[in-house]
Each structure stands twice: as C-alpha cells, then as structure tokens.
C-alpha cells in the first residue's frame, strides 16, 4: 500500500511538511467524500488514491458513491452538458426525480462527518439531508458559461453549502458563500503515472499491435463531443500531408455517461478505413495501458472544446511529453504556452503545432522537461490533499486571512 513517505523526493518537500502539520490539527476528525461513480473519470480516480492517504494522516476518511438508475444518469448527464453550455431541456419532473434519487441515497448512506465534500451535480441535493459538520460542494466541470436556468435550479442547492470549490477561478460564480479554487491533480505513484520499464511498454504496444515505425500522435479521453475527437482526426489529416504519422484515440467509458457509445460510433465512422488511425475502447482500470501509450507517444493532444480541467494533460506532461491542448477550461492552467506545451484554438492550430513538435525534437524534449517540473510543483496529489485540508481548516477559522499551524 502506498504511503506518504513514498512521495518523498517526488513531491515538493513543503507540500509534505504542510500535510503533516495540517493533519495534526485535523486528526481523528471524519472526512466524507461523495460522488456518483466508482470508476471512470478523474474524480473517482483521484478519490481511490486520496482516501488511503488521508487515513494514513490520521483523518477518518471515507468515500461513498450514490446509486441511481438509467433515468437518473440520463438526467444528470443532461445537467452536466447544460452546465457546460449545451442547450438541454430539464423538466420540473426531471428535477424532482434528481432530488428523489438523492433522498433515497440519503436513507442508505451515513452522512455523519466533521467535513463532507460532495463532488459534482449528481449528489448536490444531499445537502437537504445535512445533519452536522462542514459541507463543501466540489465542482469539477466548466460552469463558466452554463445554460442559465439550469444553473439557477442547481444553485438552489449549492448556496446552502458552507463553501464551494471550483477548479479554475473563471468557473466561480456569484453564490454568496465562500468559493475556493483548487486545481485537480495526478498521483505520480499510481499505475497510470508510475515509471514503466521498456519491457512493460513493449508488452502494451504488442498487446494492441501498434507499430512504432512512425511518430505517434495520441489523445486519451472519454468519447465525448466536448473532447473533440473528430477535430483531432481532422488535425491529424492536415499533418499527414507533411509528416507520416499514426493517430491513436484511446478512451474508456464511464458508468455515468450514457452518450459515450454514440460518440464512439461517430468517431469510428469518421476515421473510416485509415490504417494509421487506431481507436481503442479501453475497459475501466486500463491505467497501465494508458501509461504506456502516453510514454510511447511523440506528441499528446487534448483538443477539448470544453474541459473541467483535463487531467490527461498533466498525466502526459508528467511523462515528459509536450502537450497540445485546447485553450479552454483548466487546460491553460497546465500548459504555459510555448514553455510546457502549446495552446490552440482550432483544428488548423493543432495541426501546425503537431508539425512543429514532430520536426523539432529538441524543442519537444525541452518543453517536455519543463512540463514535468511544472506538474511536480503544481499538480500532484499531495498538493491537492493539502488544499482540501487547508480549506477545511480555513472554514473552521472563518474570517481570518492569515492562519498559523
């Protein structure tokens, strides 16, 4: 089992010291996290790693997942899309069902804790069943430009929390409660990010039968229109006129995303019969495979049109890869344009930057090294745990702008 001491020499020393100091103040208190999926997506992934580390710090941390049927997840997917700006119709009856499923979950899950962190809109109505403790609502999606009446309906719940947490300052909205900004993180010791031997990488390449005779362009993401997989294929086709290369689109499905299959079929159709495009639908927990694919890629893309944060960017940067990302959501926080990668606004922009990186390996190497250091200092799990505990401690000391430990 991974322990905090394993992060010594990897995470910044200051993050580790502050974690121990904060845990002295919060030890023996309970910390409950609630979300809506056990697997798939960045939230579940980070919680799997974070809960044991919190417990090692002496905090009684637990993680609960709310249950729901197909109708519930259809509704919450629509809410999710609408909060990211996609026009959707959510009827009063659907909102009522959203509440009702949460009410049933509240009967099954113990909500007793000193601090409760509710992740995303699916379990947001649980606040109605708050008993005690500090309740925080954690928003992982880009709500900078939501369909406003749907945001208003959700806000009915959010404003009852003690505080909200957004990934990017631009996502914060007028709520009349404390609003903190905490970027997500990756775990450098997880199977998805740990160092791999050449043999381990080769095993994955052989498993998927991917020839490595040409440079590989990679995008790892769910099959979701906001990730613009079709735009990635278009960019690859523009690059192909000048540079021979292969494209891999790799992603897994999530239990709370019923649209994934539809988008996957669209992407397959668009890729047609190009033998240099590989579309890999990976089962959940394909972490080692993703790790190896990111390490074997020459250039990594995350050409999202909307993005809560885009952890796949930090994952690839941690492996020393220059990433070309859409200038949206949390991606510009990770990519310092021209230093740790490139930010793009169009298919043409993505194609041009791919060509630059393919033709200038020295620049790609330099950017990759800066990218890894940038992730070390800003986007590792130890910093995120530190921030959650700091927010909790800050709410316990509400009104003070300087706190001593």
């Amino acid at each position: 089992m991974i322990q905090l001491s394993n992060y010594s020499g990897i995470a910044p020393k200051g993050d580790l010291i502050s974690l121990y100091r904060l845990s002295e103040r919060l030890s023996n208190k309970s910390f409950l996290h609630i979300n809506s999926t056990k697997s798939g997506g960045g939230v579940a992934e980070i919680l799997q790693r974070m809960i044991p580390l919190l417990n090692e710090l002496g905090i009684n941390a637990r993680w609960e997942v709310i249950g729901g049927d197909e109708r519930f997840f259809d509704i919450t997917k629509k809410i999710h899309n609408a909060l990211q700006g996609n026009p959707e119709r959510i009827t009063e009856d659907m909102w009522q069902y959203h509440y009702e499923v949460n009410r049933r979950n509240a009967e099954k899950i113990s909500l007793d804790a000193d601090a409760v962190l509710i992740h995303d809109p699916q379990p947001a109505p649980l606040i109605e069943f708050k008993k005690d403790g500090i309740w925080m609502w954690r928003c992982h999606i880009d709500v900078s430009n939501p369909i406003i009446y749907i945001w208003r309906n959700l806000k009915h719940y959010i404003r009852r929390y003690d505080a909200s947490i957004f990934s990017v300052a631009r996502f914060a909205r007028a709520l009349q409660i404390d609003e903190f900004i905490i970027t997500p993180s990756i775990d450098p010791l997880s199977e998805k990010n740990m160092e791999l031997t050449g043999r381990e990488i080769n095993e994955v390449i052989e498993k998927f039968q991917i020839p490595i005779d040409k440079p590989i362009i990679l995008q790892v993401s769910r099959f979701d229109r906001f990730k613009d997989p079709v735009g990635v294929i278009e960019a690859y086709r523009l690059v192909k006129k000048y540079n021979d290369c292969r494209l891999i689109l790799a992603g897994s499905s999530a239990t709370d995303d019923p649209e994934g299959e539809l988008v996957l079929n669209e992407v397959k159709e668009y890729a047609a019969d190009d033998p240099d495009i590989r579309i890999l639908l990976l089962p959940p927990f394909s972490d080692k495979d993703i790790n190896a694919l990111q390490r074997v890629a020459t250039v990594v893309l995350q050409k999202s049109l909307k993005e809560g944060f885009g952890l796949t960017v930090s994952e690839a940067m941690w492996k020393g890869k220059p990433v070309i990302g859409g200038a949206t959501g949390g991606i510009p926080l990770q990519i310092v344009h021209g230093v740790t990668g490139f930010l793009v606004h169009s298919v043409e922009g993505a194609a041009f930057r791919i060509r630059q990186l393919l033709n200038n390996p020295e620049m790609a190497k330099r950017m990759g090294e800066s990218a890894r250091e940038y992730v070390r200092n800003n986007f590792l799990i130890t910093r995120q745990i530190r921030d959650y505990l700091s927010v909790w401690y800050s709410i316990e000391n509400k009104g003070k702008s300087v706190l001593e430990l």
Partner: protein, 221 residues
C-alpha cells in the same frame, strides 16, 4: 560564558485561493474594482509573482491582463514597473495602481473590452503559516539550510516578510544584521534585484554570498 545567539527559525507558508466573485471586462471596471476590493486580493495579484516559478514578462496580474487581454502594452509596462515591495502598506500600493491606470485613461479614455471568458477575475488568498523545524544557530548552519530549504520558505522569509514587516528588510537580512551583526553581508543580500531572478536564482545568490562570508570567517580566503 559565551552569549547565546537567537537562532533563525525557518517557517513556510501556503496559500489557498479564493474567488471574490468580481470580474472586470475593461480598464474602467478594473480601476473601480481595484479601488474597492480587499487587501488580500491586491496582495494576491501583485506580491505573488515569485511563486509562479519562472520569470514572466509581467510582474503582476494586472499588468499581465492589460498586456495580454486588452493588448494595452504601454499600460502593462507601466504596471509592471510598480514594485509592490517598495510600499509600506497595501493601501499605498493600491493608490499607486490607481494612479497609473488614471494616467493611462487620461491619454486613452476609450478602453477596449476583453473577450468573453478573458475578463479579469479578482481572487484573494488565505495564507497558512507553519514551522519547518529547520533552525540555524549560526551562519554556517544558515548556509546549509538555505541550500536545502523548500522554495516556499525562501518566498515566505525573503519576499513576503517585506510586506509583513512593512519595511524594506526581509527576515534573512534582519537576522544577519541584528543578530549576527554582519551589516555588509545583510546589505549585499538586500540589494539583490528581486525581479530579475526566480526563487531558485535568489537561493543561489544568497548561498553564494553567505558561503563567501563563512569562508572569510574561517580564514580560508
């Protein structure tokens, strides 16, 4: 009996970012909000340049926004030239920011509008201070510590102290001067140009100056 010197206790701070919910779309709105936003917000957008880890073109967030989002390059140069550590209080700094913006608005009274999503978002920070358990009893121990201490600790003592103490001195030079009585070394360190180096650059400078002093004390040079 030999007099015991007051040791230097290395501390460190972390910042948690909070949104104020306020945003500016153009220069006049920026000016209005700067005049009324909390001290913590002004502090966050001006003093923390050094925490960003690499030398940037602009030395504070207001200058960066003026240059990148409004494309008012001359204004960004004027704002970049403001040294937040030269002011005794945040309010003095706030007034200087307003003065520079007012001057600019006199010459260019029709400010541009930032693109949607590219507005200036006012944030503020909550600072949490904690001891690192690293203590220096003399200059030689200080040298070892400064070489290995976390960058966040250097930020706290070297940059933030100037604002915290309301004077030009940082914690390091105050201890070196007041406790060790080494005025010349303190003055050398104090004169390092803050804006020309990253924290790692400052670390190397201080370590180099302190090492030379330790060698001098030992009679090796």
């Amino acid at each position: 009996m030999e007099e015991r010197l007051t040791p230097f206790h290395f501390e460190q701070c972390i910042s948690i970012l909070k949104s104020t919910g306020k945003k500016a779309r153009n220069l006049r709105e920026l000016r209005k909000i700067i005049s009324e936003v909390s001290d913590e917000s002004i502090f966050h957008h001006t003093y923390q340049y050094f925490l960003k880890g690499h030398i940037l073109e602009y030395t504070n967030d207001f200058a960066h926004w003026a240059g990148e989002s409004l494309e008012e390059k001359a204004l960004s140069e004027h704002l970049s030239n403001i040294d937040p550590y030269a002011f005794a209080s945040i309010n003095d700094l706030r007034n200087e920011l307003l003065r520079v913006i007012d001057e600019y608005l006199k010459a260019f009274p029709e400010p541009r509008l930032a693109m949607k999503g590219d507005e200036f978002y006012f944030n503020e920070t909550v600072t949490i201070i904690f001891p690192t358990n690293v203590i220096a009893n003399n200059l030689a121990e200080f040298l070892v510590a400064i070489r290995h201490i976390d960058a966040g600790s250097i930020y706290f003592h070297f940059y933030e102290a100037r604002m915290r103490l309301g004077k030009e001195a940082d914690d390091f030079t105050r201890w070196i001067e007041d406790t060790l009585g080494k005025k010349e070394l303190a003055s050398e360190i104090r004169n390092i140009d803050l804006f020309m180096f990253s924290i790692e650059g400052i670390r190397n400078h201080i370590a180099g100056m302190v090492e030379a002093e330790v060698k001098k004390d030992m009679g090796t040079i």
